[in-house]
Amino acid sequence: MKVLASYNIKGGVGKTSTAVNLGYLAAREGARVLVWDLDPQGAASFYFRVKPKIKGGSKRLLRRKREILDTIKGTDYRNLDLLPADFSNRNLELVLDHGNKRRRGLRKIIKPLRDHYDFLIIDCAPSISLVSENVFDISDALLVPTIPTTLSLRTLSTLIDFRVKHGLSDVQLLPFFSMVDRRKNLHRLIVERPPKKLSMMLDSYIPFASEVEKMGVRRAPLATYAGHSRAAAAFEQLWDEVKSNLEKPRD
């Protein structure tokens, strides 16, 4: 099972739409996919029409062995399941913060999933915290949607430094531009010539498009209602690029 986390320190950059759309594309290819909605706001759960509620809250989920399997809900798509959000996810920090393995708390939790899924895609809450470190620990790659603005690039740079400083280089960093508005000069400039430090930036980028925003109204992945749109094609290209990066041997 490969673990991917859709992550950014900033909010509103397209994390949820990345997790939901890539999850859908992977499942459509026949892989068994679980999307884990770790954001207490529960946007991914909303998109999949699943109640953002877990019996016993995140505490029970993290404390009981195999609880995770009973918490999973099927979505409207075969092969694609969801681990719903819960408002108690906001306190995840406190649940994880005990013992000497506080940075590896999620590792044990996801163990039972390994036999059941080919991909686990985590939709993270915007922040950098103990929860994020736990997510880094279990992930094979971080998908980092980044809006092409100066401040967003600065945040990405912070993440790169954090990863090096905390010895988390096992996790592959896969940042890509998201919500790209080609009408804006700055967006065009940054996408065409990203700063040298960001050489790992993927080639694919997601355009700013109203179809993506409509996911909230349709409560469905983009490809199910606007399969021929430019944005849908962009997600497909992104998924192909992510897959080929996952297959690359790492030093």
Binding site: G30, R32, G74, D76
Partner: protein, 531 residues
């Protein structure tokens, strides 16, 4: 889901009307309507069925198919894989998802063969909740059996399958209840696979390489012997086609095991059949065994290739490629030779004569000492004698013994195992299982020792042949040298482990069981041996 959620749809029910009725009762929408072809796969020896699994491929068009693996009588897939183009034959044709991992220990090297084909129209419905979330699926299927050539035939089999969605099992149960109580559908009696096979006159498990014959202990040895030998001939014939078509390595393997067992049975049932006939068939089956040997050897080397690679230093692994190429070429040549042997006059005459010999009714009286004795006596006598021989040979083996002595013991153990297996129906099953298990461990050790010995010698010869062709570099010579050294090392370890395996086999409990089951008859009293 632990209940059967498939229903039969009787011929008089119109599908459209059924959907309309359902929509009046619960919110549901039609997800898709597809025409597709459904092919069930299994290995020739039904390994999937034996493990309680069903593999089916749903092909929408020439290029797109999805293959599902599910438990028998269940509708929820354990794994699925989307494949394009060519149908799946071996594990390596599957994409790298966990379907391959699940199948690997079950089917191993065997090819997946289509066992039944159907043309299928599927209407998929979604059962929805208040916010239009899918909480269960209902697949309404109309299946029409297709013959191997793809032409349609047979009746239409109509099924409704409830497929639960994780976390919403209660809704699936509600839907199933609705179908049975409100719509009057009956639960399907058997899995679609079984229904499809029955319609084409097949039964799962119709081939096995096991000599699972039921012998009457009181039957004359010559009559019972022919029952065993006929079953072995059946196995040989069942595998002939697979060898000719070169489907996978196990057809030849099963064929050769049947030949070896035939030779062993002929040799062991002494003074049961006329000596002249026995000698003739022993000679001919030995020829067949030898003629099919080189092809099997190549199969074995190729099946072991991944292990060979793991035995050499990682830097040298790529240098083994010329060896693999050599083995593949050699295998092709040997298989061609093998097909020629199967087409030869000698082989065809052997099989025809052998069949006639086995079909000839036994005379009832005979001048041969053992022909008309009860088979249980003759079998017990032989088994007891072989067991004592094994103990004697094994007990005499020491660190100074030549490899030949271990080889002799291996042969004796093989004969013993075959005799026990032929006769198993005449003795308590539990006892036989325990004896076979004890024997198997020792046989594995002796087999390993022998294989490592032979393989290291033969690979060394191959290395010289490859070198003589001049297609390799010094790296390949080094890699094979490395491999030969590793195999010799393993041979030594197997030799060291021999004593503990032998002690386990020769321990008093096993010996007492052999004695209790087989010795009485050997001494003339037989009654307590029978079940």
């Amino acid at each position: 889901m632990s209940w059967n959620c498939q229903f039969d749809i009787p011929g008089e029910i119109n599908l459209r009307a059924l959907i309309r009725n359902l929509q009046e009762l619960v919110p549901c929408s039609v997800e898709s309507e597809n025409s597709l072809s459904r092919t069930f796969y299994d290995t020739y020896d039904w390994r999937l069925y034996a493990s309680g699994r069903v593999m089916e491929e749903l092909r929408i068009n020439k290029n797109t198919a999805t293959t599902y693996l599910r438990p028998l009588n269940r509708t929820t897939a354990q794994a699925c894989a989307t494949t394009t183009g060519q149908p799946i034959r071996f594990l390596c044709d599957l994409p790298q998802h966990d379907m391959r991992d699940r199948l690997a220990p079950i089917i191993e090297m065997r090819a997946l063969l289509p066992v039944a084909r159907m043309r299928c129209r599927v209407t998929s419905l979604r059962l929805l909740d208040k916010i239009e979330k899918t909480v269960a699926y209902l697949d309404l299927e109309e299946n029409r059996l297709a013959s191997a050539s793809g032409r349609h035939r047979g009746d239409i089999i109509r099924r409704a399958s409830v497929v639960p969605v994780k976390g919403y099992v209660a809704d699936a149960r509600r839907l199933a209840r609705l179908l049975s109580e409100n719509m009057g559908l009956e639960r399907a009696g058997s899995d679609m696979l079984i229904t499809a096979l029955a319609a084409i006159g097949r039964k799962p498990g119709d081939y096995s390489s096991k000599v699972d014959v039921q012998l009457d202990p009181h039957a004359h040895a010559d009559v019972a012997g022919k029952v065993v030998l006929r079953r072995l001939l059946e196995i040989m014939q069942a595998n002939e086609n697979g060898i000719r078509q070169n489907i996978d390595s196990e057809f030849l393997h099963d064929f050769r095991v049947a030949v070896r067992r035939t030779r062993s049975a002929l040799g062991q049932f002494k003074r049961v059949f006329p000596e002249r006939a026995v000698n003739r068939y022993l000679r001919d089956f030995q020829w067949l065994q030898q003629d099919t040997g080189p092809a099997r050897d190549m199969d074995v080397y190729l099946l072991n290739f991944a292990t060979y690679q793991s035995l050499v230093e990682p830097s040298l692994r790529p240098a083994l490629a010329p060896l693999q190429k050599f083995l593949r070429q050699n295998r092709d040549t040997q298989y061609r030779r093998l097909t020629r042997a199967l087409d030869s006059v000698r082989y065809n005459k052997l099989i025809t004569d052998w069949q006639a010999f086995l079909d000839k009714p036994s005379p009832g009286t005979s001048t041969l000492k053992n022909a008309t004795r009860p088979v249980v006596d003759v079998a017990s006598e032989r088994i007891w004698r072989l067991f004592r021989r094994a103990i004697k040979t094994g007990g005499a083996i020491s660190d100074d013994s030549p490899a030949q002595e271990l080889h002799e013991l291996r042969k004796t153990c093989k004969k013993l195992r075959y005799m026990v297996e032929f006769s198993q129906s005449m003795y308590p099953q539990g006892d036989i299982k325990k004896l076979v298990a004890a024997l198997k461990q020792l046989q594995n050790n002796l087999g390993d020792f022998n294989d490592y010995q032979v393989q290291s010698d033969v690979l060394q010869q191959f290395s010289e042949k490859i070198h003589a062709r001049g297609t390799d570099g010094p790296q390949t010579l080094m890699a094979i040298g490395n491999l030969v050294a590793a195999l010799r090392h393993k041979r030594e370890s197997a030799r060291e482990a021999f004593y503990s395996h032998y002690r386990k086999f020769a321990r008093p409990r096993v010996a007492a069981r052999f004695q209790r089951l087989f010795r009485h008859a050997a001494n003339g009293s037989r009654d307590d041996n029978m079940q």
